[in-house]
Amino acid sequence: MVTHDAWPASEREASREPSAEPAVEARGLSKRYGGITAVDGLTFAIERGTITGFLGPNGAGKTTTMRLLLGLARPTAGESLIFGRPYRQLDRPATRVGAVLESDDFDPGRSGRNHLRALALATSISESRVDQVIELVELQPAARRPVRGYSLGMRQRLGLAAALLGDPDLLVLDEPANGLDAAGVHWLRGFLRDFAAQDKTVLVSSHLLAELAHTVDSVLIVARGRLLAHRRLDQLDGGAEALERYYLELTNVRPA
């Protein structure tokens, strides 16, 4: 049975406490491009300290939603808040939020380390932190080489290193597992779990369930720009194992 409610009422109340506003909140968030509605009235709140999977078929509006949340695009209607404020009004946002939207947002001729140094300078982050995040994502051998020679997995990790520079409390990742091999996906899962274990928050999108089913605490499921469900996995009958069936029912695809 399809249900469209978001959080149980008790949790919604809890999230209203001023000291613990949600990490991410969308209120009637919409984006239209010409006649096409990419995001259609999304309303949800993401609790701190959780890993939330943002699931939906390709073209469901996941990337557009993330761009709206991060202030890269303007909503046609509604608003979005990160720790209670619009992203563009956050003070030193890099220290609150780390985000990776594309796997290849680099100048091909610049070394990975210089890419990180430029971002660190802009946000007054020390050079020693640059070397720290390079180590954290295990990119040391390649860090001083131009990005054009990097594999997709190395680019994903460089993007992640940039997101981690400011030691943020929230990570927003768009399809971070794309193009990773099995070992890379395994590494990413471990990384996200370690990150969330420090009482930090992750919003991670994917069009592939298997990548995330055993990593996330809750799921936001969207299709055609609309929110279909926001569920904690421990409240789902059958837990993570049932997620695939649940997802396919919601998005109107029959399981094979």
Partner: protein
């Protein structure tokens, strides 16, 4: 602002585009100055008023490449997607554009000085080979270097604004080349009363050197040239920042 400026200067040093631009500029100046040094007759070049037809190319070409440096600072970020991490770290887009503009202007000073120096070396050598006395006074040389550097800095700022406005790399580079190489020479020839107020002519006035000096084109004074360039840069900044502020990026 200082933090963002340091970031932009690091980006400028660590992209191949900057060094490629410099090499192309050196090649173009060498070619054009040699063509003019040896193409014009000895009797014509002995006339002091005609020597800017050779020496003036440093300012024009320096201004063009400085404008390209500025335009590429923003358009290459949009093309590669680097603009996304940039704006995630610093969501104040106007601040980012201002920092890019100042960084481009600083790079522009370097480009202007290198351009003038190369012209002096090549033209000096060519004139010596042909037995032509260089009639430009030390004061004029000083104005040529100081004015050429200042003109290149301001053109770099204009280029940044044009880049932010057009956003497409090919579009911005084409627009700047067509304007500075084509439209301005047509204006100088056909409509000098308007052409003398154009950015390229203003750069020439500021440096006291224009290849077309001595022709029917009446140059503005150096101070007027500087003021005009500052005004163009301010308009470019306003328009570019507004365009970047309004647009969805990433």
């Amino acid at each position: 602002m200082i933090a963002q400026l340091l970031s932009e200067l690091l980006k400028q040093r660590t992209t191949r585009t900057t060094w490629a631009l410099l090499i192309w500029m050196l090649a173009l100046i060498t070619l054009i100055v040699l063509l003019h040094s040896f193409g014009l007759s000895v009797s014509s070049l002995r006339v002091a008023a005609n020597q800017p037809k050779v020496y003036g190319w440093g300012t024009s070409i320096g201004a063009l490449f400085a404008a390209l440096l500025g335009a590429l600072a923003i358009t290459s970020e949009i093309r590669t997607g680097t603009i996304r991490p940039t704006l995630l770290a610093v969501p104040n887009r106007t601040l980012v554009i201002e920092a890019k503009m100042i960084a481009a202007a600083i790079g522009g000073v370097g480009i202007g000085l290198v351009a003038e120096a190369l012209v002096c070396v090549i033209a000096g050598a060519a004139f010596a080979v042909r037995g032509i006395h260089v009639a430009i006074t030390p004061g004029h040389f000083a104005q040529m270097f100081a004015g050429g550097a200042a003109a290149a800095a301001l053109c770099a700022a204009i280029g940044t604004g044009v880049g932010a406005l057009i956003r497409s790399q090919v579009g911005a580079v084409t627009a700047l080349c067509v304007w500075l190489l084509l439209v301005e020479s047509v204006l100088a020839g056909e409509l000098p009363s308007v052409g003398r107020f154009a950015p390229g002519a203003s750069a020439g006035a500021l440096a006291g050197m224009l290849p077309s000096a001595g022709s029917s084109l009446q140059l503005a004074t150096p101070a007027a040239g500087a003021l005009l360039l500052v005004a163009y840069a301010a308009v470019a900044l306003g328009a570019g920042a507004l365009a970047i502020e309004k647009r969805d990026l990433g």
